[in-house]
Symmetry: C5
Amino acid sequence: MNVKRRDLFRLPFLQGAEPLEPVHRRPQPAPGSEPGVLVSEPGAARPAVTVMAYGPHELTEWAVDDYELLRQMRGKWPVVWVNVNGVAHAPTLAAIGDIFGLHRLALEDLGDVRQRAKVEAYGEQTLFVIVRMARLAPELDLEQVGVFLGPDFVVTFQERPGDVLDPLRQRIRASHGRARRCGPDYLAYSVIDTIVDHYFPVAEAYADRLDALEEEIVHRPTRDAMTRLHAIKRELMSLRRAVWPMRDALNAIVREPGPLVTQESVVYFRDTADHCFQVLDLVETYRDLGSSLTDLYLSNVSNRMNEIMKVLTVFAAIFIPLGFITGVYGMDVEHPRRAWWWDLPFVFTLMGATAVLLLAWFARKGWLGEDR
Amino acid sequence: MNVKRRDLFRLPFLQGAEPLEPVHRRPQPAPGSEPGVLVSEPGAARPAVTVMAYGPHELTEWAVDDYELLRQMRGKWPVVWVNVNGVAHAPTLAAIGDIFGLHRLALEDLGDVRQRAKVEAYGEQTLFVIVRMARLAPELDLEQVGVFLGPDFVVTFQERPGDVLDPLRQRIRASHGRARRCGPDYLAYSVIDTIVDHYFPVAEAYADRLDALEEEIVHRPTRDAMTRLHAIKRELMSLRRAVWPMRDALNAIVREPGPLVTQESVVYFRDTADHCFQVLDLVETYRDLGSSLTDLYLSNVSNRMNEIMKVLTVFAAIFIPLGFITGVYGMDVEHPRRAWWWDLPFVFTLMGATAVLLLAWFARKGWLGEDR
Amino acid sequence: MNVKRRDLFRLPFLQGAEPLEPVHRRPQPAPGSEPGVLVSEPGAARPAVTVMAYGPHELTEWAVDDYELLRQMRGKWPVVWVNVNGVAHAPTLAAIGDIFGLHRLALEDLGDVRQRAKVEAYGEQTLFVIVRMARLAPELDLEQVGVFLGPDFVVTFQERPGDVLDPLRQRIRASHGRARRCGPDYLAYSVIDTIVDHYFPVAEAYADRLDALEEEIVHRPTRDAMTRLHAIKRELMSLRRAVWPMRDALNAIVREPGPLVTQESVVYFRDTADHCFQVLDLVETYRDLGSSLTDLYLSNVSNRMNEIMKVLTVFAAIFIPLGFITGVYGMDVEHPRRAWWWDLPFVFTLMGATAVLLLAWFARKGWLGEDR
Amino acid sequence: MNVKRRDLFRLPFLQGAEPLEPVHRRPQPAPGSEPGVLVSEPGAARPAVTVMAYGPHELTEWAVDDYELLRQMRGKWPVVWVNVNGVAHAPTLAAIGDIFGLHRLALEDLGDVRQRAKVEAYGEQTLFVIVRMARLAPELDLEQVGVFLGPDFVVTFQERPGDVLDPLRQRIRASHGRARRCGPDYLAYSVIDTIVDHYFPVAEAYADRLDALEEEIVHRPTRDAMTRLHAIKRELMSLRRAVWPMRDALNAIVREPGPLVTQESVVYFRDTADHCFQVLDLVETYRDLGSSLTDLYLSNVSNRMNEIMKVLTVFAAIFIPLGFITGVYGMDVEHPRRAWWWDLPFVFTLMGATAVLLLAWFARKGWLGEDR
Amino acid sequence: MNVKRRDLFRLPFLQGAEPLEPVHRRPQPAPGSEPGVLVSEPGAARPAVTVMAYGPHELTEWAVDDYELLRQMRGKWPVVWVNVNGVAHAPTLAAIGDIFGLHRLALEDLGDVRQRAKVEAYGEQTLFVIVRMARLAPELDLEQVGVFLGPDFVVTFQERPGDVLDPLRQRIRASHGRARRCGPDYLAYSVIDTIVDHYFPVAEAYADRLDALEEEIVHRPTRDAMTRLHAIKRELMSLRRAVWPMRDALNAIVREPGPLVTQESVVYFRDTADHCFQVLDLVETYRDLGSSLTDLYLSNVSNRMNEIMKVLTVFAAIFIPLGFITGVYGMDVEHPRRAWWWDLPFVFTLMGATAVLLLAWFARKGWLGEDR
């Protein structure tokens, strides 16, 4: 049993949750530093930059070394998608920002991974969207992704390599369909939609965990059930904090698409906003469920206590009086003695009667059964 | 009593509730797949498709095999109602969508049964409404129903055969009244209204369950009462999650009916939106009631504990001192002895007085009664 | 004490509350039935219909048998007030609806007593208002009242005979003042205002109950206090559910009075809306108070438990060691014996010292007093 | 200790709070009585009426007996401030209402001291404001004050003599500055601002009480701490209920000042609305603090229980086995006897070892310390 | 262990929190005093006033003694930043207010440190912003800062010397870049942005404290953990109360920048408003986390109680019956005696069997392990 308790903290998803593993703890620009000034993280390497440029009939893709090549591509392809796997290297951000005309404040926001999801228009030429990408690996990982949409480009910045966008890349490579014919606004939508849709398997994983916990709490509430419930609640809080502003941001695009988003794409963004709402709905329901499980757990613990107390009370209330009777007969007091065949049956009858009466009383109270 | 506990998990509506029986667990399109592309569920069969076409004076009804017949019916009948009992077979969806000009995103939404209720206009030609149909069978079953309203047709998609619309069908068949004279907007309203009105018996079933639970918690709080209360709370969460967006969707129709809904029908939709509000009101009240019952339960458990402790304390506090007295007299210590007719009455008087004093003290504290 | 518990469920207002006595359980139209079709409740008798027609100088009043007489009265009197004491008899509803041009959906709503309070304009000729009339009899009774306001009439439908409008009738009969000079909008206001003002004594009755409960919970928390608190909470939920939409409905009249309500009467409706707000305020405060009382109760129960445990612990911790000492001296082990005047004082001193030390320790812990 | 408990209910501010001392319990107009008809409270005497009339250079002040004199003053002074110390005497209300042209409904509202704070314009000539004046005397006293603002007058109605406006009167008497130069709108602002600012010392008194309670709950949680916390919570509810609508009312003046409030004064009213917001902020924080203290208290009570149980368990678990050993040696069973110098040391070693082992086990569990 | 408890109140951040160390307790203007009249705090000294005047190419900085010099600087430098380290000295406020044309009500608000953050335009010439500056020193310190923005100046008023603005000052001194080229609106933004960004390290300190607490509550819940949790909750309430209105104020600037804020700076203010939102998000999450930790703590305390009770029950339920058996054999009753080699084994077998049976029963119940 001791083992069990020690093992508790080796359970995969509690570990993931451990010391409030904070989404917001990487070195931040010091308060009071110049706004819009990009500062490299110490020791940050040049991030991997890949480009995918395509039109309805052609597609080219490569890893970029010389950023100036990007400048030359602009205007030659209907859609240029640049993906940067890291936000800690200031010169890269500055160079790419310069090529595509991205606002300094937006680039600075990339480096600060505490951002809430948001949409911001910088002039008529760029729309800047921040979203969070959710994965379970196995702990909840909420990576910030910045998406810049321009008239002929999409630039995406991720915190680190590895993402959920591979199915999208496959689709673009394979398809000569919609994905290739549409402009950069449809690509930006596709990126965001893929990220949002990835919340569903994550949310469902929590549903599974809550199911397992519920099963456990109903049948045999253990102490670590509550610890795990707390861990789940905490991750749901993070999830909610990630999704809530995303829904607002997408609704803002739907309401005021601006010049960069075609009316046709608005229908798609509306669909993604709906998906955000569904995720939020699920998360809220799981939170409510978590509260209800807490109540259930506490009531089960109290019931268990009642059961323990009933056992103690029944034993004590029966045997202490009987013990008293034996004590009375054990007193070293002068008393008239009678033969054993008279005295002994009497005392056993007395004790038996006492026990039976008390048992009957407890039975009437319903304390002898297990549940009541 | 043991039996009882084991049986607990065979109670009909707890079983229904069991492992968080999720409304959202059928195979979903993978995140990142092409939007608007319909994918069949593996092994999905062609769903049953029925058509009911009518005008004020004629009515025809049959099961459809060749979808092209549907195309030929358009324009020949004032109202064509096509009902599809399944959303997992992509070719059927595609064929029907093609005939009636339904938007691809809307058809895709049909396949994803996690949708919140919503209303969406796709151009001027179709209004797409998603609602949830509630049944107790005996567990809560929330089936997603998609309703397409066009200028001369209504197409309804259900997740599976079996629905609550039979009274409506009877009414159309029987009546030469309003139901037959009005256009497809009135039919769409009738479908939605019938579905919404079915929430009332469902909500009332929860009222009955809560009544029974309340009765039980007031008189004899058992442990499975709390488990059942939790199950009810969870189903009420689902119910609320189903109704809440439905109200918003219906209000959206009332506010902006668009070209497909006549002003006359708006009054009817407003009535249905009111019914949604009433259901929501009931559900919220039951949720509040559930919280209050939780408090009541916990306080009753604590009171019960107090009762148990009082019994233990009274027994222990009386008999342990008495036992001590017998112990003193049982000590194997040299002492001056007196005749029994002197010593024995003394010790019994001492013990009696102790017991009486303690009982009096407990009585003054009110610990001897059952309730205080 | 046993008696007390059994009696608990005979207390007047708990009985009223008993099995969630639902405001909404009379036979309802089956889901899917034709909207706007009036169905009689089986066995419903013709309800009593009274009419009061008046102008500044004349007044006539009688019980109506032949509804056609009502049609003849229209246009002859400035104000005609028809009151119907029952909504279960469809022919009556249909006849009166026909005479005054009331919309079918509104009439159908009358029969469904689950309605939330609302205001609905049906064209320019009738305004339909649903409110709830609160009474304590002694349990909370929330009767639905439908008010139709037309250019020269007011029709009120009540669920059953008996209402709170008699003071209003007296005022109309007696007065040649404002009540008689003003039009039907002022009469409709008067009806609604009288109904709303009747919530104040009802709310105050709950204040009294909560006062009594608070007194009881502070001084001697019993188990049925919590049961009664739960009953009060439940009735406050119903009250809130009745008043909340009423405020919205009245505000809707104030914001958009429509052609039937004169500007002068709007001031009066605003006043009534304010009263609704006051009632809501009171109810919300009582609900908060109920929560705080729940906390207080639970803490008192825990404190009581602590007190019980302290008594048990003090007795057990003192007498069990003493008993052990007597046990040691009672052992049937060979030991060197000494004269009684040496041994007996020693053992009693030992026991006395043990008891005194333990008592001192408990006193330092503050466990001997009653409160801490 | 007994004394303490009894004294609990003599503590000044609990007494104030005692049986929910309701702000709303004076005789009210019966529901259904004619709106706008003023009814005297039985036995109500003529209230004291004082008038202060001033311009930049002159000031006159006296107690009014003949209300007709007030009519003659109108138009002769830039500002006439009439203050009435009582709202129960209908003829006074009627007379003053008649002189200054006050609306009947507004006058009726004065008599009903359950009003929420509000602002109402009656035509272009009067603005009617209801606020609540807070005092601790020592219990919370929330007196309703009605303020009528006209083109050349301010009329204030208080429930009873005694107010917080004396500093304002002094300022008007003393100053030849702003207070005297400005019009009646500035006077109305000054009255309301003085009343609102008086909420700050009241709120701070609650902060002090909560500080004291917190100190007590952290160090030595007693049962009456919870009772007092409940009393504070209840008064904070009343406070919140008084301030919340006041903020709305003041914001309404700022948004739509109407013809009676000059643009210059709007800045001042905005400042007062800000103060309302600050008070509300404080009250909300104290309510949150109260909840947190409840949690803290309950956890402390549970901890205390744990401590008690540990003492009981340690004593019982050590001495009951030891007692059993003595019992074994006390059995009156034939057994081979050995010399005392052999048997006695054995049994004491056995008992000592048992005790030491158990103590070591409890120490390892951390049950011997006080806190864990 | 006793030491521990006493030490609890010496922990740095609890001390900081101690008697609700109120942000709002400095001597305030008495309610009813003339609005806009500045009153010195008794004994307040002249605060330190420093000025920093700069344009793109020049910068001058000095401590001001004669306020008239400030008047002479106006118009000579593009940006004049005056910083005043104290708000208690009325003549200084009056003099500076006079020089820069600041509104009296705004100056009065400076002296009242209970202000919520707000933005107020006084005419076209000054914008008045109140924000709160957060520091941990080590307790939470929320200092009020007033910022006046004019066409060519920024005046900042702090409660006391010491601030978080030194990095900003360094930047202005060092840079010939943006900070020097832009106007006073950019300086005002920089001041506010620096203050807002300082909330991040503060919020993160609370995250660290909650992490530590969580670790402690999961592994070994002590009583002072709850006290510290309460202290953290209280400080989070203060933090929330400080940030919430700040976000509203900044949004108000973004929505209606007015003539003093250039369109270019609005982008920057929007960024700062976003940061406020992030802080608020963090604080709300920590509050939710605090609630969840409270639940976890309470459940752990209850579990601990169950563990204690199980130990007691197992010991008592085994040894009390055994003691009873020894008591029976210790009775001084005449009985037929048998040889020791018969009687003694029998009684020991009886006792052993009893103990084993009871242990088996408890093991089946799972009471012998540590966790369940």
